[in-house]
Structure formats: C-alpha cells, structure tokens
C-alpha cells in the first residue's frame, strides 16, 4: 500500500461491553478492506497498560503516524492516549477515538454483524479525517524583550515586585515620575486604604530600587501589535509629538476604575455631603473633621447593591481612622437592612470600643437627605427617625472611566459601555483556554479593594513569569489546535476579529483595515467558528481543519444507506448526551451516524454541503442547549449556517428539512434520542435523494455556492457578534434582510453553476443550451451571464448574430 501516512486502527474488546455485542472479527475485516488503513489491531483493553504497550509497539514497528482507537468516550480517554503515546511521536490531533461502545454496542439492538457494519462506517470516517490531516510542526514561541506593565494602575507595583523576585526584567509605563505621587493620589481609586500605605510604600520602594525595573513616563497608549513573545507598544509622548515605541515580550495591563461623585439627588454638594474619595482628600488636606460624621451606604439606592459590601468596608476603614485620630469625631454608618455588616468579630469588637455605630434602615423606604439630617425608617419599629450629621459621606459611583476604556480598546479588550472589563468568555477545559489576551489587574476589571487589586497584579505577574520561564528554557510551544491565517489568502476584511471572542485575532499592522490578520496562538481557544466563517478560507484551525471534517463527512456519506443519516455532535452537548445514552444503555434507532466535533461552530457550511454532495440523505447537527455554547456563540453561528444550507436545498429542489439543528443537554440523553428519532423518521418519510445528473449538478452548485466569497461574506454579516445580547432576536429588519440574503444566494447559485457548466464543456454555448442543461429559465440566466461577462469571467462571442458564452481560462 502506498499511503503517504500510516494509519493504524485499534479495536477494543472492553471486556463484556463490546466483544460479545460486536462481531470484532468481521469488523476487523471490514476495516482492513479500507485501502487507507495500514494496520488493524484488536486489544482487550487498549486503554490499560498492557494494551497501551501493544499500541506503542505497533506504532514503532509499523511506523504508524495516525491512530484511530475504536473504544469508548473520546471526551474522557483522548487525553490519556495523547499522554501515553506522545513518547512514540503521536501528537495531539494524530489520534482519534470512535465511541464503539457508547455509540454502537450499548445503544442498539442489532446483531453482532450489523453492529460491525455500523462501526466500520464510523471508523472509515475517522480514518478519512486523519488522512486529510496536515500536522503542524511543533513551533516554539520565542520570547523577546522585557515584560511591559502599563495602564498606570496600582497593581503595577505588585506585578513588578513579583517579576523582580523572579528575576525578570520589566518596564513600568506610568504617568508620573515619582512613586510618591502615586501613593499620594491612591485614594482617588482606592479610598479607605490608609492602613495599607506603609506596606504599599515598601513595595514601591523595592520596585523603585530594583535594577531590573525601567520606569518610563508616557502619554496615551496608541497601539499594541504583535503576539505573545513579541509585542510592539506605542505611546504618545508627554514632551513632543514623536511616538514612543517599545518592544515587550508580554504585556500586563493594570487598570484602575474611576470613582465618581453621587449626584444632587443624594444631596451631594462637595462640601458637607461628600463621597469617600473627597473625604479622604479632606483628611489629607485639612485633617480629620470633628463633629458628627455619618456614612450612608447608599449603593442599594444608587442601583448597585453589588458594590455595597465594598463601600461598607471603605466606610468602616475611613471611620476607624477618623476615630483613632480624632477623639472629638462621632462616626455612624447607615446601611440598608438587606445587607449584612461586613465586619469580622474582632472588627465588631474594635468598632464597639471606638464607638462606631452601625444603624440599619428599612430598605423599602429610601432615606432622604435634609440639611443636617438624614431621615430614615427603622426596620424594627417602622418609625421614621432623623439622623443628625455635620458631614454626610456617600458611597461613590464606580465606573471604568473614559481613558481606561480607550486604553482597553487599544489593548483589544472587549469593552461594553457601562460595564467593567472582566467577563467570562468561554467555559472550556483549562488546557483549551488560551491565556488572557492581556493579563489584567485592578478595579477596572471589577470593583475591588486595594488588597484584591494587588493580588490580581501578583497573579498576572505569576502567570506571565511562568510563560517567560518556560520560553527561556525553550519549553514554550504554541498549542496545536489553534487558528492560523494564510497571509496569502487573507484580505483583511476583519470578520474573524469581529466574531472572535477569545481575542486571539489581531491585524498585523494595528487597527486598520485591509491588512492581513494573524492569530496569537497563546490566546486562541481553538473554538474554530472564526475559521468556519472566513469568506476566503484563509483562516484554518490547524490539526483539526475544515478539510478534515469534510473528508470525514464525505467518507461517511458515501457509505450511508438510503435511510441512514449523518450527524455531528458537539463535545459539550450532542456528543456528550450520546455518550451518556451509551453509559445508560438507552436504546435508539441505529440509522444515525454521529461524528465528533469540538464545537458545532467548527462546522463550515462547506462541510454540511459536502455531506449532501456525497450522498447523505440528511444531516443532523446536535449542539448544546441555546445560550449554553462553551465556545463563544458557535451554536448561534451554526444556526445561521444551517439557514443558508436550507435556502440552498430549496433552490436545488430538495426538501429544506433535510438539514436540522438540534439541541441536547448532556445530562438529558433522552433529549438527544428524541431529536435523533424525529429526524430519522422525517428522512425515512422523505426518502433518499435521487442521484441523477441534474440533482448532482445542483448539489455541486450548492457546494460551490457555500464556498463562494460573496455568499460567505453576507453569511458572515448575519453571525452573532459577542456584543449582541439576544440572538437571533436582534434583527431589526428580519424579513427584509432574509429576502436580500436569499437574492444573493440565488444569484450566486446560478453563477457558480454557469461557471461549472461552461468550464466543463469548454466550448462556446448559447443561452438556450445553458438553460436546458441547467433546467433554469433563460430570464434567470441572462442577467447573471451579463454580470459574468462584464466582470471578465466569461467571454461573449457573437456567431451568426447569436451570443455564445465561453469561460475565460
């Protein structure tokens, strides 16, 4: 056999769970008949030490470089196989697992021979997928330059301290020359942290004195380009107009949120009714005021009860400082009775000793500020009282701040108006999670106290240091299943960047159009919906590519019987539900062939089209429950793609229901089974797709249409963006858009078929001939032909005054 790569298949007996149910001998013969397979082995338990040793031996002896294990759940076992077989040179992506036990043996009432026949089809699909694999070389990530800490947040110092303790050089990009200035103004962002100032100053001194630290004073951040290991950071200068350019291996963003004063609706006047930051400034400038000081924790009334805890801690801290430094001051804290007093037992005791009183008020009635008094309703006796004050101190309003938002945008962080910068994008396994696009620390991420900000800074530095240390040892490699851009194909349209939620995709040349994109492999999570959306097929998910999935579905579709359907299940929804159905021995219709996919969003429309082109009578996609996608909206993107295929099936004269998107919760395998049954019954009713010349011509047209850049671009416009709250409800002109989309699709459907026909014939053809060959009205064709002529794709030649059309080569 002259295969370029050597594919081995191992069948598992799995004790009583596979061997007696599946005719493994027949299965072995069926798999061996596949010319792409070089070796078939059968093990009692491939996954246990004896089985793994046999596999390693076979891999070394036969020189196998791809492996299919027909055993059980890939979700659980793939990691073990990858770890155990890495020493014999099988990297991630070169091993695939077919769930013979859970998707075949345990769930169907079939004879052992029929089980073997079903398993053989699934294995052939897996083999075809591996055969199409173009393994990426192991790429070390080079690390150049120091770590840049920017943003000017106070966490800068904690991060820098951590880095210098680990002997890593860093640049601090800050706004002022002296650290003392920053300490003086610290209360602007973190009021009520006086007890921390001594320690903070020690940290700042340690950082300032270190020879590893370079302190630069810069203006605004202009751009951040490059990728992990090699960033270029540009700032404006404070002195002249020349930009300041620095190179850094990694970037840590320390961003502090902004404290705003309350409005006049809370009586704020800046003199007697003030906020925490103003109270702190007052202590700095005029000392602790005497008289009755009342803190009102008004976060509930201001609409942010989630910040009341933080405000109460701040009030306690400032109040305590006041009492400790001025015996003539009386401190009262008013708090909404819905919240608990956030003090430890020791603090409560200290509070009693200092005479700080905590007074609850009934949250149902909003307290009212009057000159010198705060009226409130007591939650116990429901009587209105007045609290006298000389200074009323309110909670601040917290926001991200305009400058920080601008900086976050330059850093490529996702910013939403009025929202803090922290958000949880993907919910995937840690090894799939790339690092955060910029390690971020500080209260702009989410309101926090100084201690938490510094902790975040240290943590960001620790994570960065781990990467730097691994890179210095030459042990930092790009993850294998990440997106890569082919710069020769990329036109810089920016669609991928727009729908990418992991933040890995950046323009090469900074934020402007038409320059090719690139992917930071250390950030990408390998979700792959961006690759499936690329109009030019320039973006590929390496080691797990669209061509592999096409090969898989093609191999399966060619082998499917007239009533059998192909299906894709995502590892977090459909596949997991199918696995659990297997574990529970729930029986269902065997006419469904499920293929594994990491996220349903990885499925390019070309994969779906290929299934029909190669003979599948139906294709079912089983994803997660709605709004539950683990990879940023892959499920919603699939919805749009399925919609496109439905339109095209309609244009082909086929039933639109032959493709369907289903949702299955992994914990409810019966949902999965229900979805399978409905779909199988539907396809059985519709019958197989006739494989006559006309249908095949149209299916080829369908396949070409979904690979057409214009259609893909319009489809890309419909995909859910990370900032869209509701989907697909967020359609302003649903019907108008859908009609336009349909027009584009039908135009391109005609054009690709015309091109295909003219190219195939290779001779000048007249309109009548074209119309007859395509079985389409002449009126429909003539407009498209005109466009193709004016675009130079087709030549129009007149013979005997009749227009003939010829494909230009």
């Amino acid at each position: 056999m002259a295969n370029e790569n050597k594919i081995g298949v191992f069948l598992c007996e799995c004790g009583r769970r596979v061997a007696p149910l599946v005719d493994l001998k027949a299965l072995k013969d069926l798999v061996e008949a596949d010319p792409a397979v070089d070796f078939v082995g059968c093990e009692s338990f491939s996954c246990l030490a004896p089985g793994l040793e046999a596999i390693r031996k076979a891999v070394s002896e036969k020189g196998l470089d791809r492996l299919v294990v027909a055993g059980c759940e890939a979700r659980l076992m793939l990691k073990k196989f990858e770890e155990q077989l890495a020493p014999v040179g099988l990297e991630q992506g070169q091993i695939d697992i077919v769930n013979l036990r859970g998707h075949v043996a345990a769930v169907h009432d079939l004879s052992p021979e029929e089980m073997a026949a079903k398993a053989a089809k699934l294995i052939s699909a897996s083999v075809a997928g591996l055969r199409a694999l173009a393994p990426s070389p192991k790429e070390p990530v080079a690390f150049q330059g120091p770590v840049m800490i920017l943003g000017g947040g106070i966490a800068t110092y904690a991060a820098a301290q951590e880095l210098i303790r680990r002997n890593i050089e860093c640049i601090l990009a800050v706004q002022s020359d002296e650290y003392q200035d920053e300490l003086r103004m610290l209360h602007e962002h973190y009021p009520g942290e006086r007890h921390y100032y001594g320690r903070m100053e020690d940290v700042m001194q340690e950082v300032d004195a270190s020879p590893l630290v370079r302190r630069i004073t810069v203006g605004e951040l202009k751009s951040l380009t490059g990728r992990t290991g090699n960033f270029t950071v540009t700032f404006t200068s404070l002195e002249d107009r020349l930009p300041r350019v620095y190179h850094a291996g990694a970037v840590i963003a320390c961003l502090d949120g902004q404290m705003l004063n309350q409005g006049t609706n809370f009586g704020h006047d800046g003199k007697t009714v003030i906020c925490h930051t103003e109270a702190e400034e007052m202590i700095w400038t005029t000392g602790v005021p005497n008289g009755k000081i009342v803190f009102w924790i008004n976060d509930h009334e201001a609409g942010h009860p989630e910040f009341a805890y933080l405000a109460a801690r701040t009030a306690w801290s400032i109040g305590r400082y006041m009492r400790e430094h001025s015996p003539l001051t009386r401190v009262t804290v008013m708090y909404n009775h819905q919240m608990a007093i956030p003090l430890s037992a020791g603090e409560r005791k200290l509070g009693r000793e200092l005479g700080i009183t905590w007074v609850p008020y009934d949250g149902a009635l909003r307290p009212t500020v009057q000159a010198g008094y705060l009226t409130y309703c007591d939650p116990i006796d429901h009587t209105e009282y007045e609290m006298p004050w000389d200074k009323l101190i309110l909670s601040p309003r917290r926001s991200v701040g305009v400058e920080v938002t601008k900086m976050a945008q330059v850093l490529g962080l996702d910013t939403k108006e009025g929202q803090f910068l922290e958000h949880h994008r993907t919910k995937v396994r840690p090894e799939m999670q790339g690092r955060e696009e910029a390690f971020m620390a500080g209260s702009a991420r989410y309101p926090c106290d100084l201690h938490e900000a510094l902790r975040q800074g240290r943590r960001a530095a620790q994570k960065t240091a781990e990467i730097v240390e691994r890179a210095n040892q030459g042990q930092l490699f790009a993850p294998r299943m990440v997106c890569v851009v082919d710069p020769a194909k990329c036109i810089g349209c920016g669609l991928c960047k727009e729908i990418c939620d992991c933040g890995g995709i950046e323009p090469v040349e900074g934020p402007r159009a038409n320059s090719p994109r690139h992917v930071d492999p250390m950030v990408c999570t390998g979700g792959g919906t961006c690759a499936a959306a690329c109009p030019e097929h320039a973006l590929t998910l390496q080691n797990n590519s669209t061509s592999q999935r096409e090969a898989r579905v093609a191999a399966l579709a060619q082998r499917l019987g007239p009533q059998e359907v192909a299906a894709f299940g995502c590892a977090w929804g459909g596949l997991a539900a199918a696995d659990n159905a297997g574990v529970k021995n729930l029986k269902y219709d065997p006419r469904l062939y499920l293929l594994r996919v990491g996220c349903i969003g990885q499925l390019d429309p070309s994969v779906m089209a290929r299934a029909f082109l190669e003979g599948a009578p139906g294709l079912l996609l089983i994803g997660c429950p709605p709004e539950d996608c683990h990879h940023s909206y892959g499920l919603d993107h699939t919805w749009s793609r399925v919609n496109l295929i439905k339109k095209l099936l309609g244009l082909c004269g086929l039933d639109r229901r032959r493709i369907a998107l289903a949702h299955a919760d992994l914990n409810h395998p019966e949902q999965y089974i229900q979805a399978c049954h409905s779909f199988i019954e539907l396809i059985a009713k519709l019958g197989p797709i006739e494989r006559d010349a006309q249908t095949l011509e149209r299916l080829q047209g369908l396949y070409d249409t979904v690979n057409n850049a214009r259609v893909r671009w319009v489809l890309g416009a419909t995909l859910r963006r990370p900032w869209e709250e509701v989907y697909p409800g967020d359609q302003r002109h649903a019907l108008a858009f859908d009609k336009d989309f349909m027009d584009v699709v039908s135009e391109e459907f005609i054009r690709v078929r015309l091109a295909q026909l003219l190219r195939g014939q290779g001779r000048p053809m007249v309109l009548g001939e074209l119309s007859q060959a395509l079985k389409e009205d002449e009126d429909k064709l003539v407009g498209r032909l005109g466009e193709m002529v004016s675009e130079g794709q087709v030549a129009r030649i007149h013979k005997d005054r009749v227009a003939h059309y010829l494909m230009r080569s």
Binding site: F45, L48, L666
Partner: protein
Amino acid sequence: MVSFKINGETVQARQGWTVLETARQHGVHIPTLCHHEAVEPSGACRLCVVEVVQGKWSKIVISCMYPVAEGIEILTDSPRVKNVRRWILEMLLAECPGSKEIRALAAEYGVSASRFAAHHPDEQCILCGLCVRVCKEVVGVSAISTIGRGVHKKIGSPYQGPAEACVACGSCVTVCPTGAMRARLDAVRGEPKVKLAHGAK
C-alpha cells in the same frame, strides 16, 4: 517480565502492571465500580477484590491497585472472594438503595436484601469519588470534591453552590457508575450568573 497464575492459568505481565490490568488483558472478568481507565485507581469501592495465594497462606486484596509479582497465584472467583463481594454489595445496597445499577450487580451475586439499615432510600451515590478524580485528572478543574468525613461524607461543590470552576463538560456524569452524578450536576454547574463583587459574602 513477571509470570504468575490467574485462576490456574499462567500469564505474563510487566513489572508495574496491576492484577486487574493483567486479568482484563487475558479476558478474565473482575467487577469494578470506582475504576475508570481515564484516571488513576483509588481503591475506593473494594469490589474488585481477588484472593492472592502465596504458598500456604492467602489474602484478599483489591486487584485494581495490587501490583503483579512473580509466582503469586490469583483467584478471582474463589468462595472467599465471592463472600467478600457479597458483603460489600450488601453494604452498598444499604448505602445507596436507590441505585438500580447496584441492585443489578448485587443480584448477579445472589444478594437481594441487606442486613444493614438503609437510611436514605433514594440515595444513589456510593461515594467512590470517581467523579472527583475525573474532574481533577481529566478535566483539570477540581470543581467538585468530597465534603465531610465518615457518615457525613458526600460529593459536592465548594459551599454546595454552583461551582465557579465547573465547565459543565459532564465528564462526572459519564463516569459515574450509578447515575448519582446526573442528579447532582445541575446543582454543580448552575446557571450562568452575574458575578458578585470580589470578596462578597
């Protein structure tokens, strides 16, 4: 290579393999509950007991963790082994009467009732900790753990609320030998929720 006997048949094994692995390689069935190939064995359920005969004396060991040794003789279905398994199954029946998997397994060994008192008639969990090990070793998040000790021991997430670390992959449900995790998963994964302020109680 080490050579020893399983049920009278001489088998070859490599140093470091366990008795269970070698037995399965040779098609000898040993029942297990807490054993899963994806994670390291932990010996929690004790159901995989076998009898090791060395010379004149013999002992009962768990096969999932017992390393092979030259010259030993393993009996996987001796009367003594069966007796121990019946005892274990009786205890499991009392601990989780709600599990039909355990009932089926017990019936295989002729155990239909338990002499121990069952306190929780609907309990399905045998506390083997397989879900916890999968969450840690395969998924890598440790969203669940065992909570409490002794009779108070149970499986759950920190503070018994939805676990922040949980990625809702369902691996715990797939490996669970009794289906107990299925009922617990919703409490662990929770609904996607607004995050509270740092340090909020």
